[in-house]
């Protein structure tokens, strides 16, 4: 969906064409759902938060400034909802580890390598859950969602240097956590 098409769809929705909003939902449901899932670790909560994001965006669409990027605006709404959710959230009922065990990896050519990589991804997921939410969101946005540092800063509502600092802090923290977890597993 290019800028022009997106602008046209937003105009249609603002004129009362509710059905045109399905195009917006369809285009962004994947990234928004994955952001919520990676932040909460719960499939059910991610589903609820994604619905809430699109509902809130629909209601607030009239306030969206057309000179801004739509997806950063949508991500900001989503992130605010996720932050509020995490503030009041109980520990995740679905264990992250069990969810991660079914996650596919892309290493098809080498099954052994795939298994190792799968284990590593599983471990990374567990450690990511232990990151502070603001740091976790920066890492997820940058690496999992593939946003530029400028977009990470715009979505998180911090400066560019702030966004970079969070990402680096996240990587450092992940390194220590992964190291610690591996050592814990090895010790009898």
């Amino acid at each position: 969906m290019d800028w022009k098409e997106q602008d046209e769809i937003i105009s249609r929705v603002l004129k009362g064409d509710r059905n045109a909003y399905t195009l917006v939902v369809n285009r962004y449901k994947g990234p928004i759902f994955n952001l919520a899932y990676r932040m909460t670790g719960s499939y059910h909560d991610a589903d609820d938060l994604t619905q809430e994001t699109f509902l809130k965006a629909y209601v607030a669409l009239g306030k969206f400034q057309r000179d801004r990027k739509f997806f950063t605006w949508l991500y900001t709404i989503s992130l605010n909802l996720i932050r509020n959710h995490l503030r009041g959230a109980k520990p995740v009922s679905e264990p992250m580890e069990s969810l991660c065990s079914s996650e596919p990896t892309n290493d098809f050519e080498n099954p052994e390598g795939s298994a190792i990589r799968g284990e590593e991804i599983k471990l990374l997921n567990i450690c990511m859950r232990r990151l502070p939410p603001d740091v976790r969101e920066a890492v997820v946005l940058r690496f999992h969602q593939g946003l530029s540092f400028e977009d990470v800063a715009a979505v998180s509502g911090c400066s560019l240097s702030g966004a970079k600092m969070k990402v680096y802090r996240g990587l450092e923290k992940l390194r220590l956590l992964m190291d610690e977890t591996i050592r814990e597993r090895r010790s009898p």
């Binding site: 249609r12 004129k15 009362g16 064409d17 509710r18 059905n19 045109a20 909003y21 399905t22 195009l23 939902v25 369809n26 449901k29 994947g30 759902f33 994955n34 899932y37 990676r38 499939y43 991610a46 589903d47 994604t50 619905q51 699109f54 509902l55 629909y58 209601v59 996650e103 596919p104 990896t105 892309n106 990589r117 590593e120 991804i121 990374l124 997921n125 990511m128 890492v139 940058r142 690496f143 999992h144 593939g146 540092f149 970079k164 990402v167 680096y168 990587l171 450092e172 992940l174 390194r175 992964m178 190291d179």
Partner: protein
């Protein structure tokens, strides 16, 4: 550049460079020089490799498929946000509607829902005026042809057509795929019924004055209908992707 890296050989500076490399602030040449410099600091090199591994793993985190019914659930919740019927009627009657008369735009297919609605309501208004003129004026004409029952029904037919077109216009204001579909069917029905009306007048009246109806009332109505059909067909194309 070599000089920069030489200065950065100290551990602290190397760590700073590592941070900059991970934040993608170094050029490929600078990065290669950093790697080379790290060969002399095994502890830092291990840390560097570890951080690189984590970034590549984070990029490999799989994308999870959202629930299949997510779109439907979102749209159902949006539909539940709809205001009550009386609120919508009040808004329709009292709020200004942004529209314009631009036949070129209407023919080219870029008319919005409110513009299409406007054309339908205006066509309905035309039939309302025609219906009223016929209703109050037809009795003033004398002659045998007025005895034909079908001719006497023409004012009523015009008024029903007026209501039909206004209802279609209001329905298009919903600006949705269903409204476009209903309006298409309604427009075809409208043209078809007008043609049938013309045939009925011709067959039942059977005298030259009936041609007045054929060329004025019916003829104008059919031309209007074709115009409405064209704009509603174009408008409906907007929903082809949905």
């Amino acid at each position: 550049m070599m000089k920069v890296v030489e200065i950065a050989m100290a551990r602290e500076n190397l760590e700073k460079l590592m941070e900059r490399a991970l934040l993608e602030e170094l050029s490929p040449e600078e990065r290669a020089l950093l790697e080379k410099a790290l060969q002399g600091a095994p502890e830092l090199l291990a840390k560097w490799r570890e951080l690189e591994r984590i970034t590549s793993l984070a990029r490999l985190l799989p994308q999870i498929q959202p629930p299949a019914d997510l779109d439907a659930k979102v749209m159902a919740r949006i539909d539940s946000l709809r205001p009550a019927l009386w609120t919508r009627v009040r808004d329709f009657l009292l709020q200004p509607v942004d529209t314009r008369i631009d036949f070129k735009r209407a023919f080219s297919g870029s008319a919005s829902g409110s513009e299409c609605s406007f054309y339908f309501i205006m066509a309905g208004f035309y039939f309302l005026i025609v219906g009223l003129i016929l209703m109050f004026g037809i009795g003033r004409f004398g002659g045998e042809w007025l005895m034909v029952r079908w001719v006497r029904m023409q004012p009523h037919i015009a008024l029903v057509t007026a209501v039909w077109l206004v209802v279609l216009g209001i329905f298009i204001l919903k600006d949705g795929a269903i409204a476009a579909r209903v309006a298409r069917i309604g427009t075809v029905a409208y043209i078809g019924l007008l043609i049938l009306d013309a045939v009925a007048i011709h067959m039942t009246a059977g005298f030259p004055l009936a041609l007045v109806f054929l060329f004025s009332f019916i003829g104008t109505g059919v031309l209007t209908g074709l115009f409405l059909a064209k704009i509603i067909w174009n408008y409906g194309k907007n929903y082809a992707a949905l």
